[in-house]
């Protein structure tokens, strides 16, 4: 040990991360990380750092997402359309099956997914989103058993952002760009394929100790801090959260809701890409031979009229205005009542993936009568 560095912060290179991936795989983890697929960064199984979209960055703004090649960093892009929600709370989750044989009914609960997974490259806002879904699925009177099982087996390698895009506003939501909790290992990419690594758990410390690392030099720690500061400094979008819950819940008739209803297409994209949106339908799927049926839980969206359908009266939230209002008010206001936290972590996905570029920060600012957005 050279004595000059901080022993809790070590430097690791891409080979070291390859070793980590190999060790995790050997310990039975399915290792998932960012890969480039169909013009976007998504999460898939990876075997080494060769699978990472090195040298690719993203360009995002309202209604726009594009990848382009620039530099040689492993993690210079930000968040893409698929969040880790896809892994922990997948779009389709079988719950149980019923079989009717000779007049007898048997129910078989779907088995939980006990596969342990290592998530590589989880950003600070995504850690915050996982913490939000933990509150929803694990901390109420009833638990989502499938989420609980997937969540229990995670090993999380966080990556601190060194670059932000136009849609990011994690600073406003106090969730990033630096990962503060909820990870096993956190990496900050400095130059030349090197990373400053810290452990966030005993498990993370144990794995880190198995890797080829050396203590970080003060200059490397400075470079890591500067990278995070750069990302924070690039963040032009803001969301003023002070007093926002009251502002939204006490303004259900604000003309801005009509204004946004003129633009919103009701496509539900925002709810699908949002890493905290948790709503589901439970549907019955019959076997083709008629012998049995499966009860399946699927992602649902408050932007559909089915969502609040009541026999006799039709949809409770029949107008586009009321559905957008529900979504945004839930995210920024009633989520606090229900779960003691904001439902928005400032990842900006809903802004980039809205086909017409509706921007939650701009809508919130307009409700205040101020100009906002980015």
């Amino acid at each position: 040990m050279s004595g000059s560095g901080d022993p809790a912060r070590v430097v690791i290179d891409a080979n070291g991360i390859d070793t980590l991936i190999a060790i995790l795989a050997k310990r039975g983890y399915e290792v998932l990380g960012p890969v480039r697929r169909d013009g976007a960064i998504v999460h898939e199984p990876i075997a080494s750092t060769d699978d990472l979209p090195r040298g690719w960055i993203d360009e995002q703004r309202g209604g726009h997402y594009r990848l382009k090649q620039e530099g040689d960093a492993y993690f210079a892009y930000t968040v893409g359309p698929s969040s880790w929600k896809r892994v922990l709370h997948p779009p389709r989750q079988p719950l149980w099956r019923s079989e009717i044989r000779d007049g007898e009914v048997a129910i078989e609960a779907a088995s939980v997914d006990t596969q342990r997974r290592a998530l590589i490259g989880v950003r600070a806002c995504e850690l915050a989103a996982i913490a939000v879904q933990d509150r929803v699925f694990l901390e109420g009177p009833y638990q989502d058993r499938h989420y609980a099982a997937r969540r229990a087996g995670l090993f999380i390698v966080a990556v601190n952002c060194g670059r932000a895009v136009e849609t990011c506003f994690c600073v406003s939501m106090d969730t990033g760009p630096e990962a503060r909790a909820g990870f096993d290992i956190a990496l900050t990419e400095i130059a030349n394929g090197r990373f400053v690594a810290t452990a966030g758990s005993d498990d993370g410390a144990a794995r880190l100790a198995e890797l080829p690392t050396r203590p970080a030099e003060p200059s490397e720690l400075d470079a890591a801090a500067a990278a995070i500061e750069t990302a924070a400094g690039q963040m032009t979008r803001t969301l003023e959260t002070e007093g926002l819950p009251d502002l939204l819940t006490s303004n259900p008739d604000h003309p801005r809701w009509d204004d946004v209803a003129q633009r919103c297409l009701n496509c539900a994209n925002c709810t699908m890409v949002c890493p905290t949106c948790f709503c589901t339908d439970v549907e019955e799927v019959n076997d083709l031979d008629g012998g049995g049926a499966a009860r399946v839980q699927q992602w649902a969206s408050c932007f559909t009229t089915d969502f609040t359908y009541l026999h006799g009266g039709g949809a409770v939230r029949d107008s586009v205005r009321s559905r957008y209002r529900q979504w945004m008010t839930h995210k920024l206001a009633t989520w606090h009542d229900q779960f003691g936290t904001s439902g928005c972590v400032g990842c900006g996905r809903c802004i980039a993936w809205c086909p017409v570029g509706i921007d939650i920060t701009e809508e919130a600012a307009a409700m205040r009568g101020a100009r906002g957005g980015g």
């Binding site: 609980a148 819940t249 529900q326």
Partner: protein
Amino acid sequence: MSTVLAPDPQLDPMVPTLARITRKIDEIPDVVTFEMEADGWSGFAPGQFNMLGPFGVGEIPISLSGPASKRERLVHTIRAVGPVSRALVELQEGAVLGLRGPYGAPWPVERAQGRDVMVVAGGLGLAPVRPVLYDVLENRDDYEKVIVLYGARRPEEMLFADELSTWRARFDIEVAVTVDHASVGWHGHVGVVTSLLRTVGYDPANTTAYVCGPEIMMRFAARALTDAGVAPGEIWLSMERNMHCAIGLCGHCQLGPVFICRDGPVFDWARLRPLMQQEEL
């Protein structure tokens, strides 16, 4: 908040137990009452509901409509209005279906002890509130006046008509009924159920009300009761919303800050009024 952990697949709150229909009673057209038995059933509190699932069709929330004091009794009254409720109503004695529950916050019955009890029900809304009446009548001495106001669309759509007549014959409970549309042979009251409020004597300052029916009817009833001087915190309503999970996880039943399935379905008017004032919340 207590945590219901479900490590065992059999304890997954989304997985139903099996229930069997032991008796089917035809009530009015499209409405039946089932007496059932279910694995592990150990009773409920008035106002709670179960998720009932005819296999291969779906699953819907249905209130318990029988007496809560008889722990083994499992009674539901169902109206066929769509695919799942229709499939339920068509089940016969002996049929097996899926059941999850009981769920939800109950009617606070004991709150009315020493007070006048006012039940206001419309249409099928009499079924979810019937357990309140069973409890109150079993402990009749604990309460002052007991009044039931019930409105149906037509005379032939009057639910539990025999039971209403039996109650009406008792000297210790006042029952008043009304219909929206009279038919030949109807000599009773015609008009909305709130119009019956003026026809009965009670002490508004010392009244606890239990209101169940279509949302519009509950709004009017709550307003009329408040106008008469019943405290908003003493007026209890049972709300209906689309429900897919009944355990606070699917998001469908939200009404502003509350989940109807988990925080309700029974709420007092003081809590509900600001939420029901907002259209399309």
